[in-house]
């Protein structure tokens, strides 16, 4: 039987321009432009800094091809600057690619940070609604899950207190509970579990694994913590300098990652 495709990435490339993109003020940009026009020295150039040409770029992702099937829990590992976060940002539609296409089946929820959009003055309960909506849930969906979310967060006692009075641990627990109860078919997580106590981390990972197995939810997970990768993922890709250098078994991926 052919497996259902959740995400298909073809020839994905992302380039960033090097050097300074404009000076940030209109007046200086016009000054610099006028200087270039007369072949004079740019008055706003930093002394000693290199001149970058218009086409000098940094390639964060270099012609990536990847297919992720429904229900897979894919780990993405690689050194700093390998392109992991850029990849997640493009799939989450925070920035767009320079070249290539991505096809996605299902709703995507990205958790590149816990508690996005939390407002300190609002209570825990109010923040559940706000954060849930930001992550793509409707009010009715949050309503049907609010009891479970509060129970999972282990902070029932403080749920009607403004979150600015929360400890950082309570904050993370609440935020993660919202994320763990999302309805979306594809979840994108970037090192979000690096916070919170060990027991809660384990609880979250198990919850993620459970929903993935039971409901066929697809998970893309980026982490530098190999223990959590082993615990959650059933396939793993290794990124290096914007390219996929390995794609397959988790243990072998971890071995390759530690050798580059």
């Amino acid at each position: 039987m052919e497996r259902e495709v959740a995400i298909q990435i073809q020839g994905l490339t992302k380039e960033y321009r090097l050097g300074v993109i404009g000076s940030g003020t209109l007046q200086r940009d016009i000054q610099s432009w006028w200087a270039r026009l007369r072949h004079k020295e740019d008055p706003n150039k930093k002394v000693g800094s290199k001149n970058y040409g218009k086409n000098e770029t940094f390639t964060a992702l270099d012609g990536l091809n990847l297919t992720v099937y429904k229900g897979e829990r894919l780990g993405i590992i690689g050194r700093n600057g390998a392109g992991k976060s850029t990849l997640l940002k493009i799939i989450s539609r925070i920035t767009s690619p320079t070249k290539g296409t991505i096809g996605i089946n299902g709703r995507v929820s990205s958790m590149l940070e816990v508690g996005t959009g939390f407002h300190g003055e609002l209570t825990g309960r109010e923040n559940i609604y706000l954060n849930g909506a930001i992550l793509g849930m409707t009010k009715a969906e949050v309503n049907s899950k609010i009891d479970k979310i509060i129970e999972f967060s282990e902070i029932e006692q403080f749920i009607d207190t403004p979150v600015k009075r929360y400890s950082s641990g309570m904050y993370v627990k609440l935020a993660f509970s919202v994320a763990a109860h999302l309805n979306s078919e594809i979840m994108i997580m970037d090192e979000v579990l690096a916070v919170g106590d060990l027991a809660f981390q384990k609880k979250c990972l198990d919850k993620m694994g459970d929903v993935s197995r039971e409901e066929g939810r697809t998970i893309l997970y980026v982490s530098h913590n190999m223990e959590t990768i082993r615990r959650l993922c059933d396939r793993c890709v290794v990124l290096d300098k914007g390219k996929i250098v390995f794609n397959g078994d988790v243990e072998r991926a971890i071995k390759i990652y530690s050798s580059i």
Binding site: I104, I134, T138
Partner: protein
Amino acid sequence: MKGTFDTLITAKSNPFRLNLKETTKYKDLIWLFVQRDFKTKYKQTILGPLWFVIQPLLTTFIFTIVFGKIAKLSTDGVPQFLFYLAGNVPWLFFSSCLNRTSATFYENVRIFGRVYFPRIAVPISTVITCFFNFLIQFIMFVAIDIILILIGANVQITWYAMLFPLLILQLGVLGMGVGIIISSLTVKYRDLQVLVSFGVQLWMYISPVVYSVASIENSTLKTLVMINPVSPAIEFMRAGWLGVGTTNWMYLGIGLAVTAVIAFVGLVIFNKTEKNFMDKI
């Protein structure tokens, strides 16, 4: 690419595809943003929501002293305080829509950098918040208006008052249109933000807030003021609730057309900017 997908992410996208349908799926989010703005604005303040009415009352009071008592500008026989209030309340709505939506990208970098939702949800919720602020101020204005009519001031409510929803819609859409154009441009040029704060101040003086169009004697100047899309809206408001004002349908039509064009241009620029602004801000 073979197969069909719910979402297709490509390098180039058509800026004229405005994704309005997708935005309607996020109406709960827009509503929650409005609630957040209301709940958080006046927490830990003494007067709380009373600030909504204190602000227009104070500025109108100053206008009355400066333009009414000192400069002695004509108010077409209407009690000065009421005349300035009638200009000030819609003007405050327009300027708050413009000011607050013009910071959309800059103020939401954190949240926009972490999660996707149609970015237009933020300025829309801002305008709705401004509208509720306005509504409270407007009810106060109508109350003062009716009290003055009852005690026999030279003021009357006319049929033009029925145009009120159209005029407010126009001011809101215009404020948001200009605001999102500026917010898109400030992604690259921060100094435009400075321009906004005094640009709006200057805009007020070419709008009939502290004077009436009827009192302008120079006809070129009069045309210039009426070409400003805010002016017919304010004049028609005054005509409706005070019984004085220049009710010129042609200028109102021009104002509405200009508003529609600015809103469309704004949406297209905003749509184009949101795709890549994280790399530039």
